[in-house]
Symmetry: C2
Subunit: 422 residues, 2 copies
């Protein structure tokens, strides 16, 4: 029997009525002849409510207890979804992450899945039960502590279960119709992407696209699990993330989409002595403080002073930690001062076609220049160009680039490159 793994996020499980709707959707997949395993997030804003409670009780709650607390959210939603499915006349079993065999490392709040040992899930599926699994959570391998995977972790739970169960597909149900060429709230003419490669999806997720959790895409790529991102509010086909698209000749567009991100800040370390090892000292300090760095720019040294500036971007949430850590080494590193700027935005153009189309960056920079957007930092990968701009011009920049690459839905087809499958 084909195995389908589904995932429903909190916005699809906001209240009793939504839960019943999701239950009908799950029952449909079972009725269609599949074994069905479902990962669920906590209801609506319930995770935020638990966080608020925690903050009322303690300004710095211990991460172990935070994970104990937050995992209650998925426990509630999975039990309710199971009840609603039972009510439709289907047999069903819910399992916590731990019961479902989601084994992680011991990093509370941002644990990584090491292994999935789905014995109880498989047994329940074999008996004909629909299985509901609490997303976002697992149990640490050695210490048997309850862990959570971080925001968006239920996507990863679903993909990891799909891999462990050798599922035919992992369906990620969300509140949008799929992955778009840009955020439709910023670019109303953005189009739904019908198929996208894992590589492109990874770059989009890493660049601010919120549709899929980055790690879930990594996991799907590693285990070669096709993901179908679709809306829980409609029956429309969504976006298939796969490296093996169906059909003989797929004309893949040069550009998959434009992502943007306002969650980062920029720190500039001013007046760093231009000596070997100074940058290393700075970034080792940040690594020790567990700050995640994204883009880095070092100015050309002003030869008369022997000093240089180093700028980097990082999540705003790490800003305080990074500044504190750097201040402690100001004397030993010998820099002059720190500048903190949280009014930046990042725009990323992603497309596997960039590899074979050298004209992409020219078109990209021209579009930004024509719309008067000033670029502060640039970074590239093989299939991505990212720039940092002022936050207030970011939306304009996204629209300009989207249009320049023919991605607007009113303009007919996007620029494509031919091929017999990719």
């Amino acid at each position: 029997m084909p195995i389908v793994v589904q995932k429903y996020g909190g916005s699809s499980l906001a209240d009793a009525a939504s839960i019943k709707r999701v239950a009908r959707r799950i029952a449909e997949a079972k009725r269609a002849g599949n074994d069905v395993c479902v990962a669920v997030s906590a209801m609506g804003d319930s995770t935020d409510e638990l966080l608020d409670l925690a903050n009322e009780v303690s300004p710095q709650p211990p991460p172990r207890e935070m994970d104990m607390l937050l995992t209650a959210g998925e426990r509630i939603s999975m039990a309710l979804v199971a009840m609603a499915i039972h009510d439709l006349g289907y047999s069903v079993r819910s399992f916590t992450g731990s019961q479902a065999g989601v084994i992680t490392d011991a990093s509370h709040g941002k644990a990584r899945i090491i292994d999935v040992t789905p014995g109880r899930v498989t047994e329940a599926l074999d008996k004909g039960h629909i299985v509901i699994v609490a997303g976002f959570q697992g149990v640490s391998q050695d210490t048997k502590e309850i862990t959570t995977l971080g925001r968006g972790g239920t996507d990863t739970t679903a993909v990891a279960l799909a891999a462990a169960l050798k599922a035919d597909v992992c369906e990620i149900y969300t509140d949008v119709d799929g992955v778009f060429t840009a955020d439709p709230r910023v670019v109303p003419t953005a189009r739904k992407i019908s198929t996208i490669t894992n590589e492109e999806m990874l770059e989009l997720a890493a660049s601010g696209s919120k549709v899929l959790h980055l790690r879930s895409v990594e996991y799907a790529r590693r285990f070669d699990i096709p993901i179908h991102v679709r809306s829980s509010f409609s029956a429309k086909e969504g976006t298939i993330v796969t490296d093996h698209p169906e059909g003989d000749t797929v004309e893949a567009p040069i550009i998959a989409g434009v992502a943007h991100d306002r969650s980062e800040a920029k720190i500039t370390v001013v007046g760093v002595p231009d000596q070997t090892g100074k940058a290393a000292e700075i970034f080792q300090t940040l690594a020790d403080a567990e700050v995640n760095i994204d883009m880095i720019v070092q100015n050309v040294s002003a030869t008369e002073t022997g000093l240089t500036d180093i700028s980097f971007t990082l999540p705003k949430s790490d800003g305080r930690t990074a500044l504190d850590a750097l201040k402690k080494v100001q004397g030993s590193v010998g820099f002059a001062s720190l500048q903190y700027d949280d009014q930046i935005g990042k725009l990323s153009l992603v497309g596997a076609g960039m590899r074979s189309h050298p004209g992409v960056s020219a078109t990209f920079f021209k579009a930004l220049a024509d719309s008067g957007v000033n670029i502060e930092m640039i970074s590239t990968s093989e299939i991505r160009i990212s720039v940092v701009t002022r936050s207030e011009v970011l939306d304009d920049a996204v629209r300009a680039v989207h249009t320049a690459f023919g991605l607007d839905s009113s303009e007919g087809e996007a620029v494509v490159y031919g091929g017999t499958g990719r």
Copy 2:
């Protein structure tokens, strides 16, 4: 190091401020030089809120999933209590019922504790951590399913932990100052009992006193664990439940207290053929439907008709089930009709002194007669007399009996019988 087990109920954990207050209380016990293990209930009305959610989703939720759902409540409160304790500078670990080794049978919603294997709790205590355990929940021995112990089950969790840890005392913190000679809301002159035997406490709990969960008293009796029932809102000594009171000569009162109960209903099976085995058929039917029967009265048979009436009391919540089950056997048993009455009240007088004081029942019935209370049913044990009355006269009856036995606090000492300890 002495080991103290404490229990805090939902009313002591209603919000963040209450949780912090409880945390300070727990820290105090640790600071006083004890190893401290604490069982907590769900916050305030959160269990009821989860029940409401379940009912919105499904009219008849499967018990397994109901237990999954409800156990989230204690998980939330235990994590928050642990955070608040951490915030006071103490090291702390929270454990679910399953993690704490609370092993139960597989009866979802009303599981019984079979064993406690507190390896992780002991290890944490040995490391100097304060331990918080989710009350009300466990894991079934063979099927490894999450179970709950029924309303009030956290008392039993606490006592079972105290027994397994060989604790010196189990402190049950609640929103009243201890066990009273009657419900102070009904009898304003009721007195706090300073010491009470397990046997008397069992009869009070079985007769409607809500202070302690019946099974927790059974458990404490079996394992000889002293219970200290006290208020979480004051530092006053509460009530010690023990069969080994301190001091050389304890003058124990004849009567421990008066309990009342409005949670029962009465069913009368009218016109039962007065033949051997008819009563057995009726009660077997009720047992098969898992209805708990309390008191039973069979009228003297009217010899001319060969028919008799059988009345019994049962929890109101079992009323519908009992009536349905009995209707199905009306033909085979051959009774005429069923009467259902949920406007009854039960009053129970409890005291170990009854054994040696034959005058107790005379005083009891005289007090009820003097206050004009009509008695509908009577049942007795060695240390208890219970009567069923109309619900609307129950409070008057309780006050009359309380006064007749000299239990009112304004009347000085209660009637006592001497002894050199008991």
